[in-house]
Symmetry: C2
Subunit: 313 residues, 2 copies
DNA sequence: ACATATATACTCGAAATGAGTATTAATGAG
DNA sequence: CTCATTAATACTCATTTCGAGTATATATGT
């Protein structure tokens, strides 16, 4: 007799408020934040995505707008059984992760929005290169390289460290970086999954099961997609100023952008159109309110916000 | 009691031979080509990918090199039960698709390589824009637009048709195009899945279950990845001439490229290094043999073959 | 010697990109 | 009223990348 498999569906539901990028979490066991998730019931749902929409709807009172499948994880040991979602002991959960974009609204009582850089503090380069990279991460990873058995293994680790945290920050490698920190024992989940006592630096806030990995995948995907699909607008109010749009993109990408070039790009691409109305800011010159121009989808093949943001050294 | 779910693993194993891009298929039921696939056994395999490698190894005598997860499909009706892979009647198969790249070698008896444009004849623009687009596809899609109930639905269909087959060919939209043709009833799978008698144009060669959809996903992903990761080299022999490399890229992308610019790009990016040896062609000047320069992975953040190929009108 | 086929080098204009400077329009403090 | 402050918006400029060529070199077979 074959071991039972059940399918879990998780969603990284993302939004932006002002300058803060947020993720919807449920305080699952009082200890760890979790993504909204639940089992897929093949009897009720025609497709995985419909199952997700239904489940999330029940759990969070949210209507998902844009959704996209991310990845299916089936690793033994990274999804420990739980009374909530798992089958009996010995059963295996394969979890399908989704990315969903929405505007912040009223959420159910058990859920709350949380800034995603709580979970990935090394990913926010808007103000400056996060100090923890030089102070904690790189020294620890240096040790990780040295501890490799064999010089070839050490070379491979060195290369990974360099790609992830070395010269030339690539904001899309969110998952790669998280996985590296996991393997190097720098995040709590590593110790939990392997039944070891925690030790050393535990960077960022841990999540339930492999949910931080799913969130990393979601952020990575969103950061990539931003550049060639107009997905930001799923997160914006119907009208917005160009600076608000820029701040949202910066929040997602974790980078600062050049203001004038950003406007040029957005304008040239025909991503937005003016409404003729103006914002009434507390100080400073009022800015025109824009809305998303749905027409771009028809006209351009890769309409997106190409960010050529400069990273702080 | 919940309905049973089982996990199926399928792999689109791709290779290139000269100018032909190939996929490894098994002649499953004598009627339809199928991708190598099999059930995931959680008792034996720690991860999904290991399950896949094992299964494919047994079925095809192949060692997979580069692999990448594509998508997880769980649609009811697009994966009909089969004695081979499914659970009993009423059970549901969720299938996880993978992309694998390899060099052509000796394969098991039941498997064979087949050019992938057999399944997607409209995707090969190397010689010319495929005539079937103007002659068959566009007229049929025009009808599909007209048959929409309501003008808003018609607008949406028109937009999709335009994005997929209109001005400006985007070689990456392989899946989008296949799905559109599916919905418009232009491929055999549509009639099979819905239990209807086949009618009208059946474009390309059909495959078992949803395997053509998985293959479309694989090609789309590969065409995208090509541009920012040096994946072509997984498909090349250890040494090759620049024209061979170009022909391989063209085969995958389904486009012709500008020869001089291609070399400039490949050289400037440092993707390859000369070996000092030369090819001995049947005619024409011998070309230098190159090999992949592994160093790029360290140096550049997006090393790939940016194709700016011109499409024939 | 030359037709043919391919490799390789070099040129050139158009467009995109990154990094500015300059100017305009609002606010509140004095 | 003036001015410091804040932000919007317009314009400039050098550099790089891109698409499309032309020109030349080196093989083969007849």
């Amino acid at each position: 007799m074959k071991e039972a498999v059940s399918i879990g569906l998780s969603a990284a539901i993302l939004a932006v408020e002002g300058e803060q990028p947020c993720v919807l979490v449920v305080a699952h066991d009082g200890l760890h934040d979790a993504l909204p998730f639940g089992p897929f019931d093949p009897a009720r749902h025609r497709t995985l995505e419909l199952g997700l929409r239904n489940w999330v709807g029940e759990q969070t009172d949210f209507d998902l707008g844009y959704t996209e499948q991310l990845y299916t994880f089936g690793d033994k040991g990274r999804h420990l059984p739980s009374s909530h979602s798992g089958p009996g002991p010995g059963g295996r959960v394969v979890s399908v992760g989704y990315l969903a974009l929405t505007r912040k609204g009223r959420e159910a009582a058990e859920t709350q929005w949380r800034g995603w850089y709580h979970y990935f503090p090394w990913e926010d380069w808007r103000d400056a290169k996060p100090a923890m990279i030089e102070n904690i991460i790189l020294p620890a990873l240096k040790k990780f390289v040295k501890d490799a058995g064999g010089s070839e293994a050490a070379d491979m680790r060195r290369e990974r460290v360099n790609v992830c945290f070395g010269e030339g920050w690539d904001e899309e490698r969110v998952l790669e970086r998280y996985e590296l920190l996991y393997e190097a024992g720098l995040v709590e989940e590593y110790y939990r999954d392997n039944g070891l006592p925690a030790k050393g630096a535990n960077l960022g806030t841990a999540m339930l099961f492999d949910h931080r990995r799913i969130l990393a995948t979601a952020i990575a995907r969103l950061r990539g997609k931003l550049k060639y699909r107009p997905v930001v607008f799923e997160l914006m109010a119907p009208t917005f100023t160009l600076l608000e749009l820029q701040r949202a993109v910066e929040a997602l990408a974790g980078l600062r952008l050049h203001k004038q070039n950003f406007r040029r790009l957005v304008a040239e691409q025909g991503l937005v159109e003016g409404t003729g109305k103006f914002s009434t800011p507390l100080r400073g010159r009022p800015a025109e309110l824009f809305r998303f121009r749905r027409g771009v989808l028809r006209e351009r093949q890769a309409p997106g916000v190409r960010l050529g943001g400069r990273r702080p050294r």
